[in-house]
Structure formats: structure tokens, C-alpha cells
């Protein structure tokens, strides 16, 4: 059980790194945005982003590995669309996003609490 969990955490970490790598590039984020509008071939994308076919293939490869993009080759044309992660239920995403903010705000609560205490102490020491 322990092993399985560690293994899951590790593979989850690997996925995380892959996603970070995929999203750390402005062109790749642009490609995702473009594919949000419509499917496109690698040639279309290369033209749109003013780059060579080989360069665009590399970018699409990275996105595909992260599950953000799926491709399908029909004849000589490889068509790209948003990948399986795109199919995630928006409600579930909103709930996870909410929890991220809640976690942030829990920490913000502590920071504000500390500032409040500090103000009180400073105020007292000024009076003394």
C-alpha cells in the first residue's frame, strides 16, 4: 500500500513536471489557446506562429506528452485538437480552483492575524 502510494506520488510528480514544462513556454500556451478556437494541422500552427514545421512538431510533441493536446494523422495531414484533459468537467475544475484559493486565503488569514497582533504590540509599546 505504502509502495503504491509512493509510486502514485512519484508518477504524479512526473506528470506535474511534464505539465509545467509544457506550459512554461509562451508559444505552447498560444497553441492551446488557438486549439481552443478550432482544430488545426501542424502546418496551420507553424504558419500562425511563424515557425518551421520541425519547430512546431516539437512543441506539439511536448503538449501531447502532457495530455494537453491530441493529434491524429489522416493521410499526410496531422490534425491537432485539445487533449483528454480538455474534457474535464468545468464544475470539478472550479471546485479545485476554489480550494486553491481557500488554501491561499487560509495562509493570508495567518499573515493578517500576525500583522494585527504586531500593530497591537507596537501600539502598546508606543504608549508605554
Amino acid at each position: 500500500m505504502r509502495y503504491t502510494l509512493n509510486h502514485m506520488v512519484q508518477s504524479s510528480r512526473a506528470r506535474l513536471d511534464t505539465s509545467f514544462a509544457a506550459l512554461s513556454d509562451a508559444t505552447r500556451r498560444g497553441v492551446l489557446e488557438q486549439l481552443g478556437r478550432s482544430d488545426a494541422s501542424i502546418t496551420d500552427l507553424a504558419e500562425k506562429f511563424h515557425m518551421t514545421l520541425t519547430g512546431m512538431k516539437k512543441h506539439v510533441g511536448v503538449l501531447e506528452q502532457a495530455g494537453l493536446v491530441a493529434t491524429e494523422k489522416v493521410g499526410r495531414v496531422r490534425t491537432c485538437r485539445l487533449g483528454p484533459r480538455r474534457l474535464e468537467d468545468e464544475t470539478a475544475w472550479l471546485e479545485r480552483y476554489r480550494r486553491l484559493w481557500d488554501a491561499r486565503f487560509d495562509e493570508l488569514d495567518q499573515v493578517v492575524e500576525e500583522l494585527k497582533r504586531k500593530e497591537k504590540t507596537d501600539g502598546r509599546s508606543k504608549k508605554e
Binding site: 502510494l5 509512493n6 505539465s19 494537453l68 475544475w93 484559493w101 481557500d102 486565503f105 493570508l108 492575524e113
Partner: protein, 173 residues
């Protein structure tokens, strides 16, 4: 009814709400137990901002946090994971109204990202905080949701966090 009872038992715990207001907008709200000026301070001083923007439970750090909080001033955040830089977000402040309003850009892609507006409304020593993100297009927000990346933080981190805490709960290692 169960939820109502639970909130009576824990009156101190405030809960964030998130809503997709329109095709292009996401709105987050939360009440903080403190005056607006302290919330504003925690949002605009890098040494304080660093302490809460990336929750401790996440395996992510914020080694660089530069903020020049004035109209036209820039900010830059660099995130690291396992000691490696993984992401950089930057932008500039469009509006700075101490203790009540802060507007900034999120310049990540070529076509421009969301415009974020923070408003603070103080009432009886507590502050209602609203973060409003306006995306340039429906497609841009859809893509952000599809990639899980919003506000400069891919939210798969949340899932990783859950896995890690489940691991902790299994028993002594």
C-alpha cells in the same frame, strides 16, 4: 441542513466562493478577519505576499517575488518545484488605490492574458475580498481551464497535494 450546522460549529472558518460569471470572467470571493489596510499590505509587500500566494501544502516555492506597486509598475513571480525554476509570471499594475482596489495585468502569452481586479470592502473589522479575472476572450478562459493553469499556478498541484496527504494518513512509515 448538515452544512448549515457545520458552519455554526465552526464560525471562524470563512469559505472562498468561485464563480464563472460569464464566458470571460472568473470571480473569487472570501472574507478575511482583519481590516482592509492589513489585507492590502499583505497583497502588496513582497515579503508578506510570498508567505501566502503559494500555500505551504504545495511543493512549490516562490524564490523570486518582485513588486513595484504603483500605476505602471511591474511585478514578476518565479515559481520553483524541486529546486528547479518551472514558471514565471509577470505583468504591471494598472490601478493602485490603497486599501480598496488593485488592478494588474497577467502577461504570459503573446495575445495578452487576463486583467485581474482585487477589491477590498471593510465592514466591522472584517474585509470582503473579491478577485475578478477578465480574460481577453472566451477561448482564452476555456484554454486556461483546459490546461489547469490560472493565476499562474497549474492546479494539478492540488491533486498532488491530496495524494501526498493521503499517503501521510495511511499509517506510520
Amino acid at each position: 441542513m448538515d452544512a448549515a450546522r457545520k458552519s455554526e460549529l465552526t464560525p471562524m472558518k470563512n469559505r472562498a466562493t468561485v464563480e464563472r460569471k460569464s464566458d470571460r470572467e472568473i470571480v473569487v470571493t472570501r472574507t478575511i478577519n482583519g481590516p482592509a489596510r492589513l489585507v492590502f499590505e499583505a497583497w502588496t509587500k513582497p515579503e508578506l505576499f510570498k508567505r501566502w500566494w503559494v500555500p505551504k501544502t504545495m511543493e512549490l516555492t516562490l524564490p523570486t517575488c518582485e513588486m513595484d506597486v504603483r500605476v505602471g509598475g511591474k511585478y514578476r513571480l518565479v515559481f520553483a518545484h524541486g529546486g528547479k525554476q518551472v514558471m514565471e509570471v509577470f505583468g504591471s499594475y494598472l490601478e493602485v488605490t490603497p486599501h480598496s482596489r488593485l488592478v494588474w495585468t497577467n502577461e504570459e502569452g503573446d495575445e495578452g492574458g487576463a486583467i485581474s481586479t482585487l477589491t477590498l470592502e471593510e465592514k466591522a473589522g472584517k474585509t470582503l475580498l473579491v478577485v475578478h479575472d477578465l480574460y481577453p476572450s472566451k477561448e482564452a478562459l476555456d484554454a486556461a481551464i483546459a490546461s489547469g493553469a490560472t493565476s499562474g499556478l497549474p492546479d494539478q498541484l492540488e491533486q498532488l497535494d491530496e495524494l501526498v496527504s493521503q499517503g501521510d494518513g495511511v499509517g506510520p512509515s
